[in-house]
């Protein structure tokens, strides 16, 4: 590993730890960082116990949703060989969100299977984008335009469901965009499915590197390009779907984090993937904490903070990084 990569990885780990501590002590209930750490290590601190019950599920969800969404974006970018692929923009997250809402409307008793339905919805969205933009190859521009169209169809449908559905549904649509009122059981779903997806993503990081070559070149090296594409896509959809079904739709994370990663640690997925996990986790956690701290007792959803900050940051990065993507 090069020095810059090591420094970047250490920096992002420290950032994540810092974000964790700040997030845990921010809110109406106040403890000092020291109290928090000793309370966590040795127990017995009453307020820290309350924080553990109320804030930790939310913190864990922010961490895993951020990690899952950024890695999902990274994987989609590798599969489509397109730096603009992001589950929150090209219809994967919207598909997942729509499908879980639809199932909650039609079969509310199957609530337990929400992540599965979200996965099917995300896979549907991905398949539509891929199939509709395929014309002997994937043109990056066409893919993004079709992705945006699919995204707006699915999010429109989801909103329509929210309009006329039961009170359960409308509360679902609203809550989907914020991380408040999260319970341990929701955190558990995300941690289990998310961890599986993240481990799989780390295992296929070498494949992601190979996909940066032309298909023909990879094929003549004896690689099964179609199989690699399919497996990586399904991991990406799993990550986006499970994050969406618990934390809602976030745009930009999957775009922004891998982009920062490529600038800092380069294009080798064996380093870029772990970096994206850490940076994505830190980013959403910071966004959520800022959203809670800005005007208490009101909360600004993390997804809104992400959209407002993420847009300009992306523009700055794109202007700076012409070298990476060329023209």
């Amino acid at each position: 590993m090069k020095r810059k990569q090591v420094i970047s990885l250490i920096a992002v780990i420290l950032l994540l730890i810092l974000a964790f501590i700040v997030s845990a002590i921010t809110g109406s209930l106040r403890v000092t960082p020291l109290e928090l750490i000793s309370g966590l290590l040795f127990g017995g601190h009453e307020q820290v116990e309350i924080i553990k019950d109320l804030r930790f599920p939310r913190i864990i969800i922010a961490i895993f949703a951020g990690a899952a969404l950024s890695v999902s974006g990274l994987l989609l970018q590798a599969v489509m060989r397109n730096p603009l692929a992001d589950p929150g923009i090209i219809g994967v997250s919207a598909g997942a969100s729509f499908m879980s809402l639809l199932m909650a409307t039609l079969l509310p008793t199957l609530y337990f299977f929400t992540p599965l339905f979200a996965f099917l919805g995300g896979a549907l969205g991905f398949f539509l984008v891929y199939a509709l933009s395929w014309r002997g190859g994937l043109n990056p521009l066409r893919m993004v335009l079709i992705g945006i169209a699919i995204h707006s169809v699915f999010s429109g449908l989801a909103q329509a469901l929210g309009m006329q559905g039961s009170s359960l549904i409308s509360s679902l649509t609203q809550m989907n965009s914020t991380l408040s009122m999260k319970t341990w059981s929701e955190a558990e779903t995300l941690v289990i499915c998310g961890s599986i997806g993240l481990v799989l993503a780390l295992l296929v990081s070498r494949w992601c590197n190979y996909l940066a070559l032309e298909d023909k070149t990879a094929r003549n090296l004896g690689l099964n390009v179609n199989l690699m594409r399919f497996v990586i896509s399904m991991i990406a959809v799993l990550l986006a779907a499970v994050a969406t079904s618990v934390a809602g739709v976030f745009a930009f994370v999957g775009l922004l984090v891998p982009h920062i990663g490529r600038l800092l640690v380069g294009s080798d997925h064996r380093i870029l993937t772990p970096f994206s996990i850490l940076a994505g986790a830190a980013l959403i956690l910071i966004a959520d904490t800022v959203g809670r701290a800005l005007m208490p007792p009101h909360e600004i959803p993390a997804s809104i903070i992400m959209a407002v900050i993420g847009g300009p940051v992306l523009i700055i990065l794109l202007r700076k990084s012409e070298r990476i993507y060329g023209n």
């Binding site: 590197n209 190979y210 940066a212 070559l213 032309e214 023909k216 070149t217 094929r219 003549n220 090296l221 004896g222 690689l223 099964n224 380069g266 294009s267 080798d268 070298r323 990476i324």
Partner: protein
């Protein structure tokens, strides 16, 4: 390698290749020439299993290409494609190391043999000094040599190159051609390439396959294939074909023969 009555249609309306047959001689350099759209690149992609023929087959070492597993084929046949992309921050050595993929078991790391093959490929292509450079720090000619080195690291008996000299200036073009000839002469690699320049094809090939409209017009040694009549037929060009005591056989295009 034997090509048996290959037919292929890129889409249903237009046949691209019409019942092509031929034989690639072992240890020789064979060059496919022909005008744009004559099917030479298509033929090369069928011969490297990047496209599946509608009928006919390609036989490599007594076995149809379709019966080969991808890795097995990649140990027999390496291809340098015309258009290549790779991350610009990838180092020369890493990319050349990709050539060892077909020799590796899944999840295994590099062996002594892998490292030797990489060293050899870097030495052949004169890239030993550039091994830790990233791709964006190389010139066009060097980058083309890196792709050839990656193919060499596969240690295959067959090497295919699709228009290896495109986009390069004259010096780099001949550097690549000399390199290809050296690999062929010193290591007995069988080379098949697609070229546009007839004089380069004459100078660097043992055999030439001339194509037009998805058919093979004539194949054989350069002296048999490259005649005024053949060139008029396949390119529609008037040419002067001469033999010079120093330069050997060469052609000079002098005008359009007929309207295409």
């Amino acid at each position: 390698m034997e090509i048996k009555q290959i037919s292929y249609a890129y889409d249903r309306t237009k046949q691209t290749l019409h019942s092509i047959s031929g034989r690639i001689a072992r240890g020789k350099i064979t060059t496919i020439i022909g005008p744009n759209g004559s099917g030479k690149s298509t033929l090369l992609s069928i011969m490297s299993k990047n496209a599946t023929p509608d009928s006919g087959q390609v036989i490599l070492d007594g076995k149809s290409l379709q019966a080969y597993r991808a890795k097995e084929l990649a140990r027999k046949l390496a291809v340098v494609h015309q258009h290549n992309v790779a991350p610009s921050d990838l180092t020369v050595e890493k990319l050349v190391g990709y050539g060892r993929i077909p020799h590796r078991e899944r999840f295994a790391s590099g062996s002594e043999e892998d490292q030797q093959a990489i060293e050899w490929a870097l030495a052949c292509t004169n890239l030993l000094g550039k091994r830790s450079k990233t791709l964006d720090a190389l010139s066009g000619g060097e980058r083309q040599r890196v792709w050839i080195a990656m193919a060499l690291a596969q240690k295959t008996p067959f090497l295919f190159l699709d228009e290896p000299t495109t986009y390069l200036d004259m010096y780099y073009q001949y550097e690549i051609l000399e390199l290809i000839r050296r690999i062929n002469r010193e290591h007995g690699m069988t080379v098949v390439m697609v070229l546009h320049d007839i004089n380069q094809a004459i100078r660097y090939s043992d055999r030439i396959i001339a194509m037009k409209d998805g058919r093979v017009v004539i194949q054989g040694e350069p002296e048999q294939v490259i005649t005024r009549e053949t060139l008029l037929d396949i390119y529609g060009m008037e040419t002067i074909v001469r033999t010079d005591p120093e330069a050997g056989l060469y052609i000079v295009p002098v005008g359009l023969g007929h309207v295409r």
